[in-house]
């Protein structure tokens, strides 16, 4: 029982730390986004609160907390309150199976930088994120607003459609690695070919196609430009969260950014070698460096996200669906076939 309780304690501490770090990361992702987009658009971005606006996220959170929390009169109250929670919890849950660092030794304690390594890790993420659709759909429905309803309907259709190509593109990674556990997938990507090229999945022959399909569908899953149809502010005002204010809106906001981070983390784990990277120096540095590589890879993805947002216009709803079903799904299906042929040929 003591082993069990120490496990429980360890996991609880990990969870608290991860959630705290995650929310902090979200706050600073918003800062990063505002800053980078601002510079793309030749303006300054946040620059008043703190040095280079570094305290801006805190001010934003305070503003959200202090704002009046309104509920539309005709709204279905229970669901209206529930929806942001349904959106938020799965988003936060899916981070639990992602390994963000190597095993580190602190004195006698060994710490694995991962909350739990499920052997159905990827499936778990899919399961959890598929529940997140309800938050958006119900939020749209419960607000009793036509714009919200259309946003909700759009998003449920979009998320279901793109989950398909998302899943299919991951299948080819599974074919190559032969495991569903994210920890093992990362372990398999250690080492180098010819001493130079890291053994990342992206460099394995057909997997760059699945990376492409994965990342495009991931952008759609997270409702970001050019696929941000559910909240297309120029058509649907603010889509499913038109009626939301204060911290309920903040939850949706948080969810979007957590999803961005999760998706980038999965992409890093599946295709870019997770926390692998050159390690050197004393022991403590060796423990920290994987974490650093992991975070920098994620930041690179986030920057790409922000870059697309600053550059591209938005798809139309029917084009989005056509793109998903007529291009991405067939492409990822063909990629699965191709990958299995390659795997069979190698074996």
């Amino acid at each position: 029982m003591s082993e069990f309780s120490s496990f429980l304690l360890g996991t609880t501490i990990k969870c608290i730390v991860v959630i705290a770090v995650l929310i902090g990361a979200v706050a600073y992702t918003t800062w990063l986004e505002r800053k980078v987009v601002a510079h793309l658009q030749i303006r300054w971005g946040p620059s008043r609160v703190g040095w280079h606006g570094l305290l801006q996220p805190i001010a934003d959170v305070l503003k959200l907390l202090l704002k009046e929390d309104m509920t539309p009169g005709q709204a279905s109250k229970f669901l209206y309150v529930l929806a942001p929670l349904i959106a938020f919890v799965p988003a936060a849950l899916s981070i639990t199976v992602i390994p963000f660092g190597n095993v580190a030794h602190f004195g006698s304690q060994t710490v694995r930088f991962q909350i739990t390594d499920l052997n159905v890790g990827i499936l778990f993420i899919f399961a959890v994120t598929s529940v997140g659709v309800y938050g958006v759909a119900l939020g749209g429905w419960a607000s009793n607003n036509k714009y919200s309803l259309m946003g909700g309907l759009r998003s449920s259709a979009q998320m279901i459609s793109y989950e398909l190509s998302l899943g299919l593109s991951v299948v080819s990674v599974l074919l190559v690695t032969g495991t569903l556990s994210l920890g093992q997938i990362v372990d398999l990507q250690g080492g180098r070919w010819f001493g130079i090229i890291p053994k990342w999945n992206i460099f394995v022959f057909p997997l760059f196609i699945s990376f492409f399909t994965y990342f495009v569908s991931a952008i759609a899953e997270t409702n970001r430009l050019p696929f941000d149809l559910p909240e297309a502010e120029n058509e649907l005002v603010a889509g499913f969260h038109t009626e939301y204010s204060s911290m309920k809106f903040g939850m949706f906001f948080l969810t979007e950014y957590i999803n961005m981070i999760t998706v980038s983390a999965i992409a890093t784990t599946l295709f870019f070698g997770g926390w692998h990277g050159p390690t050197f120096g004393p022991l403590w540095l060796r423990g920290i460096l994987p974490l650093f590589w992991f975070v920098s890879k994620i930041v690179a993805f986030l920057l790409f996200y922000i870059w697309t947002r600053g550059t591209l216009p938005r798809f139309r709803y029917d084009q989005l669906m056509a793109f998903g079903w007529k291009f991405l799904v067939p492409l990822s299906l063909a990629n699965v076939v191709l990958t299995s042929l390659v795997v069979a040929w190698r074996a």
Binding site: S76, F78, L79, L118, N119, V120, L123, F124, F126, A127, V128, S130, V131, V133, Y134, A137, L138, G140, W141, L149, G152, L153, S156, A157, I160, E163, L180
Partner: protein
Amino acid sequence: MQTIVFFIFAFIAVAAAINMLVQKHPIHSALSLIVVMAMLSIFYVMLYAEFLAVVQVIVYAGAIMVLFVFVIMLLNPREESHRTRQNRFLLVAGVPLGLCLMAEIVILLRRAPLGENETGRQLVGTTEAVGRVLFTDYLLPFEFISVLILIAILGAVVLTKREL
């Protein structure tokens, strides 16, 4: 320990199922059903069927019930009224009939010779194990069912086309 967990979740499952019947608006019923399914997923984990547990959430909660919610949102029906024109006796008869059925099953279960798990082997429904059985012993049904689902897709598309 496990038994306590079981009872907690079983209670939630039954409560949610009852709530599904009591709620008037279909969307509340659908949400209650999702809770039931989530609880079942937990039971699958307790029964070491981890693959099924995940698939339960992906397929039932993530796909089928989303479809339900989607249709409910699309049609936006009003709250159900219990004033039915015909078959009013079903209302009266439904609950006793169901309770009778339940009693029968419970009585049968009490008589059934269900011993403890004899073999010491711990069967774990990992993805690999399930996949192995699925693609060896059950390959033919698997193929059939993929055809079935294709037909279902076609059927759904044809049915929802405006001009029937």
